[in-house]
């Protein structure tokens, strides 16, 4: 790690580090200024220590303005997230935050359905906390060993529906079934979704069918995370239906499902 005044501006203490599952970790980072600004749906961009050129974007899973901390939950996928998982309380991490354009939220009293798939679930937590009992959180995982954040969602006061692909925890099957049930039960003001592309597509399709606004948080490989390098392109339609590339790091990661070319 470099030691200079500029690098220090991006260096933040890790307050705590908790292993949630075999692969998933929860990290709390002390960064009062970023915490004061952060909005649900935004992300942080972390540069792991070691031989890495690119930062790793991770959604914000918790915003604690009082404590001045941000929480993230991430899964070890490759070398970078592996390195990040080796950090411990007291270490520091090189971070740019908060980045991106988050969710555009209706009134707190609105009924919303929050759909999270796997490691796409964490960004739903700040939303659940915001809408509380008016939110329904539907989260899906491969199997019971991959399930995360259920206590946090329960604590938010939201209704929680857990699904697993193999039925080893909660309901058997995909999140789309309970999603349609909940839509039918009472049409929500908004659906928010984050997770694997097929899940997002299915949620967006249901939202279209039932004419419900839907915001999705997308992933794309990133460079700067700031909107300058243009590598994180996402195909969208503008108001006239013309194709245009927007950028996940700046225009997103949250997009209206309707503008995305799936």
């Amino acid at each position: 790690m470099k030691h200079d005044k500029y690098t220090e501006l991006l260096t933040f203490p890790v307050r705590s580090m908790t292993q949630l599952t075999k692969a998933a970790w929860s990290m709390v980072i002390e960064c009062p200024e970023a915490a004061a600004k952060a909005q649900p749906g935004q992300f942080v961009n972390l540069l792991p220590d070691g031989n890495f050129t690119l930062r790793r974007p991770i959604s914000i899973c918790g915003i604690d303005r009082e404590q001045g901390t941000l929480r993230i939950v991430f899964e070890v996928r490759g070398k970078g997230t592996k390195a990040l998982s080796e950090l411990r309380a007291g270490d520091t991490v090189n971070m740019l935050a908060p980045l991106g354009h988050g969710f555009t939220l209706p009134d707190k009293d609105s009924r919303v359905i929050l759909v999270g798939g796997g490691i796409g679930t964490p960004p739903m937590l700040p939303l659940a906390q915001y809408f509380g009992k008016n939110a329904v959180v539907i989260s899906g995982f491969r199997n019971k060993d991959a399930v995360i954040l259920q206590e946090d969602f329960a604590a938010s006061g939201a209704k929680t529906i857990l699904c697993t692909d193999d039925g080893s925890a909660g309901r058997f099957g995909l999140v789309t079934l309970p999603l349609e049930e909940e839509i039918k039960a009472e049409k929500p003001a908004l659906i928010c979704a984050c997770g694997p592309l097929p899940m997002l597509r299915a949620a967006a399709a249901l939202a279209e069918t039932y004419e419900i606004p839907c915001q999705v948080s997308l992933e794309e490989r990133m460079g700067c995370g700031l909107g300058a390098c243009l590598v994180c392109a996402c195909r969208t339609k503008d108001a006239d239906g013309n194709e245009q590339y927007l950028h996940v790091c700046k225009n997103g990661p949250v997009f209206n499902a309707q503008e995305v070319i799936w």
Binding site: Y6, T7, N51, T53, G223, L230, V231, A233
Partner: protein, 303 residues
């Protein structure tokens, strides 16, 4: 505090560190971090005659010591650049190099002609983009094509003209000489090395374009070599780049022959990279009792 100023084609730069084209957009995203006036100059995102959407994502992959990109010259077109971006850039008290490209010599000339009527300080003609089918690297890999496009642009503008060369060639000095003889006032190098990475799990190339431009620390030894070869082959100044991550790297490229140094991937990694590199260069000069950055240029003594 050493004197960091340099002068290229009669243009004074307050220091020799310039964000490279494509990583810095039009500067706006970086103003939240520091005033752009701290920079020696800014090379803007490559601009073409008309708007381009660029290539399909994914557009980046990581390399052991660098990154690949296949952006493909996404930009709003020269008119939008001049209308919406250039005025602000020119108000930032730093040298602006307008990086331009095109599919044909005519397109490049048209873009240059439009810039000729503005107050932009320098035109950097990119004949080396590896990520577009027409123009781009095609211009930069043959002497005849490089000469032709340089000639067309030269006729369209009196602005100082820097031609940005491709490293994906057998002899960069031949290309450099060809563009010099058609009136280039400077050359900049290197653009990215053509590379590829594969996702082992899916067995697909990581980049949707299959191949892309490799930049960052891993290309530095190639950049030093090509800057040295080119500086010894042409009389015009050389702006060096490729894998510069520190002030010492900048000093090394200058010794090899660069009059100024662009910084690309280092900024993708860290927005403060140019300021850190300016400080490090200054500290290194001070520590070695060297008064001016400019004296580094071409000072390597070969065996």
């Amino acid at each position: 505090m050493a004197d960091l100023s340099v002068n290229i084609c009669g243009i004074p730069f307050k220091n020799p560190i310039i964000p490279a084209s494509g990583v810095f957009g039009y500067g706006r995203e970086y103003e939240q971090f520091y005033p752009l006036s701290k920079l020696g100059g800014i090379s803007t995102k490559g601009t073409t005659g008309t708007k381009r959407t660029g290539n399909l994502p994914p557009r980046t992959a990581e390399a052991p010591m660098g990154m690949l990109n296949s952006v493909g010259l996404q930009n709003p077109g020269i008119d939008a650049f001049i209308a919406n971006e250039l005025p602000h850039l020119l108000s930032c008290d730093t040298v602006i190099l307008a990086n331009i490209a095109g599919s044909t010599p005519e397109e490049c000339a048209e873009v240059a002609a439009k810039l000729d009527k503005t107050d932009v300080h320098m035109i950097e003609l990119n004949i080396s983009c590896p990520n577009v089918k027409q123009g781009g690297a095609a211009f930069g890999t043959s002497c005849a094509a490089a000469a032709q496009v340089t000639k067309a642009v030269r006729q369209a503008t009196k602005k100082p003209l820097c031609v940005k060369l491709s490293p994906n060639v057998t002899s960069i000095t031949e290309i450099a000489k060809a563009v010099e003889s058609e009136g280039a006032d400077a050359v900049s190098l290197i653009n990215t090395l053509l590379g590829m990475r594969i996702d082992l799990r899916t067995r697909r190339p990581i980049l949707h374009n299959n191949m892309g431009g490799y930049s960052g620390a891993g290309i530095f030894p190639v950049a030093v070599r090509m800057v040295w070869q080119t500086a010894n082959a042409v009389k015009v100044p050389v702006i060096g780049m490729g894998g510069v991550m520190s002030g010492e790297d900048a000093a090394e490229l200058m010794m090899a022959g660069a009059s100024a140094v662009q910084v690309g991937t280092a900024i993708v990694q860290d927005p403060y990279a140019p300021l850190r590199i300016i400080d490090e260069l200054n500290d290194w000069l001070d520590a070695n009792g060297i008064d001016t950055a400019a004296e580094l240029t071409g000072s390597v003594k070969p065996w």
